[in-house]
């Protein structure tokens, strides 16, 4: 059993992350984009959708590194701002 786990881990580490790394990143980004939209409202930007975004909240999984990642991704905010303009 242990050997099986070890082999599984070995292959994930050597090949899996290389193969799926981009996919994983995109998946995570897509989840976080929804929460960012929501947080923008709480940051003071009127968001006409925010009441309905609230109902999405329970379905998103967020850890404490979330804000750090958002801040680190400087290019994400301009993208969201430009989208927001279309909604206003």
């Amino acid at each position: 059993m242990e050997i099986k786990e070890w082999i599984k881990g070995f292959f994930k580490g050597t090949f899996g992350d290389i193969l799926f790394g981009d996919l994983e990143r995109e998946t995570k980004e897509r989840e976080e984009i929804l929460l960012t939209l929501l947080l923008l409202h709480f940051a003071g930007l009127e968001n006409p959708l925010y009441f309905y975004l609230l109902e999405v909240l329970p379905y998103l999984k967020i850890d404490e590194n979330f804000m750090r990642r958002i801040i680190a991704k400087e290019e994400l905010l301009p993208v969201l701002f430009s989208r927001y303009e279309g909604w206003a």
Binding site: F20, L23, E24, E26, T27, R30, E31, I33, L34, F42, L49, F51, Y52, L54, E55, V56, L57, P58, Y59, L60, K61, I62, D63, E64, F66, M67
Partner: protein
Amino acid sequence: MRIYAVGGKGGVGKTTVACFLSLLLAKKGKTLIISTDLAHSIKDFFSIKESSQEFRISESFIGYEPDAREGLRKYISGIEEKTRRNFSPIVFEDFKPFLNFSSKDPSNYDLILYEKLKEKVIKGDYQFIVVDTAATGQVLKFLSLPQRLLIWYGLLLKWRKKYVALREKIKGKQEDELLSMAEKKKKEAEEAKKKLGEMEFIWVFEPGTLSIKESLRAMEEMKGRVKLRALVANRFSGENRLVETVVKRGRNLFGEVNLIKIPSFEEEPFPGTTQGEQFKDYLKNLT
């Protein structure tokens, strides 16, 4: 199911018209009267002492005065409860004050009232629903919300489907709760759009300058968005040039529109009184 909405400027007699109309309709089939005003007065009208939001007025006649404040509080605390499980405690603690704030935001009341109305329209087994409204703007909001929600849930579904497809490649097939929630809500919005689109509007006004001006403005706004079933000139006495203006404009904008003239009564028309019976008789054409 037929849905009537009664609207007009404050104090023109919307509630009186809505209540007497519902009384007439209740003789024909199961009827619900729902007040979407924050200051409800249906219970006062029927002298009902019960404190529950939903109350029985007669055998086939139900009244509903949804409490928007309490509804919003419950809605947000439901979200808070579910969110607590999925968020890290640190993020959740930071986020909680914002949720508390949202639960007291009056701009959300109309949205809660829409949800309550939608629930009754979709799930209720009523033959007639009469909506005693707060303002013209509110009705137009109720009518345009389903379309806006269709766009929103469509967008959400598109995003989420992409996300689920990506996740499937990494982790294999998994049930996605958000996806099924959005699908369910989209279906509800479709149904609400269809049913609320058939809403028949009854506009109440009195022959005073302010009420007339508001009527003219409101009719312009309502054109193409709602069916105007009748104009009710309340507290009407003798020929009145102003009333003619409203009727003319109404017929210009909506085609054939009924005009119902109701005189002012010496005593207030309440159910069970002679004045009440007289008032009810004027509305017979509407049913």
